[in-house]
Symmetry: C2
Subunit: 115 residues, 2 copies
């Protein structure tokens, strides 16, 4: 979430996706980028942030206006295909949590005037 | 969240902490470990998961039984000191979001019988 417009006032929704990769795969990065680009086109998408450590454990949090829009994105045909490929090829384990963001605050080093 | 006991049925709470490190610091790892150990001793703590990528962007999600227990942990003296040191020394920017987990599901590769 790098733009001010992507830090709306709560309430809004978060999808917390934590996963363990089973190995490395060149296709994974391309698919991951494609899913972010596709998600960004969906109604209600507010932003996404993602980190994966050197051991293959990663957390991606996407933010959405409503729970209904998350459900619609989950049912998107291309997303469904990607999920099946993820299970077949890339992940050894994952957790998904749908959560309603009730409070949010940010801190930024003062000498930085923009990011 | 590596134990079954740490995947309770919703509703429960998540603290989504996403941060950008301003540099490397040996003290950071020690402080981070200390905060996880201390959090785990607090009432209502359910688990924590964390990933930081090679560029210094990280996401830590801790899980709690109630919002009140999150507030209590936030006010813990040692946690407050760590937060001040984090602002002074380690972070260039961070976001905190308090969210109520409404739905959760897991997937695990079938050939693995335990983790």
């Amino acid at each position: 979430m790098s733009a001010q417009s992507q830090r709306p006032e709560p309430p809004y929704y978060a999808v917390i996706f934590s996963s363990r990769r089973s190995g490395t795969d060149e296709e994974y990065a391309a698919m991951s980028e494609r899913m972010v680009a596709l998600a960004a086109q969906q109604p209600g998408f507010l932003g996404v942030e993602s980190a994966r450590d050197a051991n293959g454990f990663g957390i991606t949090v996407s933010y959405w206006r409503t729970a209904e829009e998350i459900t619609a994105w989950r049912a998107h045909a291309e997303h469904t295909d990607a999920r099946e490929q993820g299970r077949a090829s890339w992940y050894s384990q994952y957790d998904v949590r749908i959560a309603k963001v009730e409070r949010a605050y940010s801190w930024e080093r003062a000498e930085k005037t923009s990011r």
